[in-house]
Symmetry: C2
């Protein structure tokens, strides 16, 4: 559908940036804001963006722990010990798991200690229980009077010192980090149970097109159901945003101006365009009228997604995606999600991308002047994964259902069957 | 911490499966159940598992649409037309976007149609507006009386036929699919606004260890805060489960039996073990006592995570992960998440894994007899990504914070610096 309207665009293909260049321009233009901070219980913090550096008040662990089941000793007592000239130590008792030893261990003494148990004061090393034949086979409650150490033990042997995981005062997590499962585990470890996070950005979602009806409506002749609103909403939620649905507007100038103005009260505005001639230009002009900095990128040498509009009104990003549902998904993944991460207060990603290497099952030709982001299905082959191109127009959302991800085909190039490609799975 | 308790385990390293073999045994044993079905609004369906095949009642689109801005014609009228012998057609009018044409187009007639607009009855092809000099430059409201077609046009040219995206009766999405953004877009397109999905499985989370205190408590001597409960809960939520926190239990037999019995009322039970000798054996024995099929895997040639317990009581999976927080995360990702997907009613994944290829910055040696799942950080290098091993014990959860993912190092092998490795990012 977008094909013809693109021909009416004021820009020529030649002047447009390639997708990566457009992304760099977009990232450079996007402001860094500090979103409002809210405190959430630890159990709700995973997936949120941390708003403050978190330092630990205490070391973790805050006491010396044994790495093994064994005998806690004073290393100095064992100096010079050998199998021929062993050292006999008096066993002071058994340290209970999760409890203080309760008594200090003096020179010439030792104590039984479980894995993870606290070393009694005075001890600085642990000898594994296997090194004491006198301890093996005895019932777990039996504590002999003495043990015999048959070698010299180094201080610190089999000991997890205080602070082995976290030093006191150490910053364990920095502001701008999107919290993973193990990150909230660390917060638990340092006792942070109310977590300062940035408020989730609110994203206004606008579908434009006089031909569109909501999914619950029965489309009449010439009408189709709006697929973009819910599909983009799902990506926004996945990216950590909250959706403010603005409904469907006819692609006339006044309606568009009005809805964009209302959308700018949110942290970000996403439009999926209709298909009528020049309508993207209206969006661009309306956005320009609403204030600087205005349009950052207008048109990308990308297929699907050439009529992409990336703009800023004040510090509110405006992403104009084409109306074809495949294009809208591709464009929002490429440019909307990074903008969402930025306004969410997330620190910039390192830039790596997880992919699945696969071999193309057939030739794929990149279109003239445009980088093709082609849908492929991953199918098992005799020697690893195969990438089977899913052909079809960008109006056919079912092609995304049939695919597992995208490959990038450079402009004007043909990737022959058998080429190794990096598939970016939907995730 | 687990080191010593592993030595006391009744099984020898040699008899244990490698991680992949353990996974296959586990998957083979996990039952296929049909979870209860609930209906959720379309806007909440993304990320849920579809409970029924969804067929479209209607074709999408349900009318012939133009792919371009142009002139809808009857292809037969243009037979034999050339620049020298063009065909003149009477323009019946302009089709409005989103509206029926309102009038049929007879032989010798044509109609203006916008991109995405409905073809008027009688027409079967569209000629792009660029092919009509008489239409270019004229104001958008002007409709000339006649247009001249200068070539023969094939039926179907520039037409999206009814059903191009979805055929009537076509199953667009099958039961067991975890719904992605574009999937809910398709549901919108076919008018499904109440979506049948499987109820999210409820997962009982049990932390064992007398030394553990909840994150909000101030640990006394010998005590540490429980990091596993929140960190595993985050993975469960990420995997689509609902967490039923069962708290911390001392690792004594009666307490463990009682809490496991209560946990079995959920769809899955996850324990993170303490560190005292033999406690995993208790769990295994308790689970065996509770009914068949019992223990499926007990011990894996995996580092970290050797004392892993995978069991079933009836159709309830029980995952016993070691208490060290790194081990607990690694083991739950390997064995807990696939079990969660299975009991959620999800169809089996195709099996591909997205990775980041990188070069090792230093030698990494796999331990004797065990496959090492090593934490690495991804750092940019002169020619692509580098994988920097993060050394440290499995009690050091900060090593996961410092890392971006895991690499697999085969038992008894050394991967030399510079080797290409596939990093599985945390995701």
């Amino acid at each position: 559908m977008a094909r013809s309207s693109e021909r009416f665009r004021p820009f020529q293909l030649e002047g447009l940036p390639l997708p990566e260049e457009a992304l760099q321009r977009w990232l450079a233009a996007l402001p860094r804001r500090r979103p409002p901070v809210e405190r959430v219980p630890l159990g709700e913090a995973a997936g949120r963006v941390l708003a403050e550096d978190i330092a630990s008040r205490q070391p973790v662990p805050h006491f010396a722990r044994s790495q093994v089941d064994g005998v806690a000793v004073r290393a100095a007592d064992t100096a010079g010990a050998t199998a021929e000239a062993p050292v006999s130590l008096r066993l002071r008792g058994r340290v209970a798991m999760g409890r203080p030893a309760g008594w200090p261990v003096a020179a010439g003494e030792a104590a039984l200690v479980p894995t993870g148990g606290m070393l009694p004061p005075g001890t600085d090393a642990v000898v594994m229980v296997e090194e004491f034949p006198e301890l093996l086979g005895s019932g777990s409650s039996h504590v002999p009077e003495r043990v015999t150490v048959r070698r010299a033990v180094a201080a610190g042997e089999n000991v997890i010192p205080p602070g082995a995981d976290v030093q006191p005062g150490q910053v364990v997590l920095t502001a701008g980090r999107r919290l993973r499962a193990h990150d909230v585990g660390v917060l638990a470890g340092v006792g942070v149970t109310e977590v300062p996070v940035f408020a989730r950005p609110q994203v206004a979602l606008i579908s434009t097109g006089v031909e569109l009806v909501p999914p619950e409506a029965e489309p009449g002749p010439g009408q189709i159901r709006d697929m973009n609103a819910v599909a983009l909403a799902a990506l926004v939620e996945q990216g950590g945003g909250r959706v403010r649905p603005m409904g469907i507007v006819a692609d006339d100038r006044e309606a568009l101006r009005d809805v964009i103005a209302r959308g700018l009260a949110c942290d970000m505005v996403v439009l999926s365009g209709g298909s009528s001639v020049g309508e993207e230009d209206w969006t661009a002009r309306i956005v320009e009228e609403m204030g600087p900095p205005g349009v950052i990128v207008h048109g990308v040498r990308l297929a699907p997604g050439k009529p992409t509009l990336l703009a800023l009104v004040g510090d509110v990003p405006v992403v104009g995606a084409p109306g074809n549902p495949v294009s809208a998904q591709v464009v929002f993944r490429l440019y909307g999600l990074p903008a969402l991460r930025r306004i969410a207060g997330e620190a910039d990603a390192a830039g790596w991308q997880a992919t699945v290497r696969a071999r193309l099952t057939e030739d794929v030709r990149g279109p003239r002047g445009r980088e093709l982001h082609m849908r492929v299905a991953l199918v098992p082959g005799p020697a690893g994964w195969l990438a089977r191109p899913i052909r079809g127009g960008s109006h056919q959302l079912m092609t995304m259902v049939a695919a597992d991800g995208l490959i990038v085909v450079p402009p004007d190039e043909t990737l022959p069957a058998g080429s190794v490609v990096e598939v970016r799975p939907w995730g």
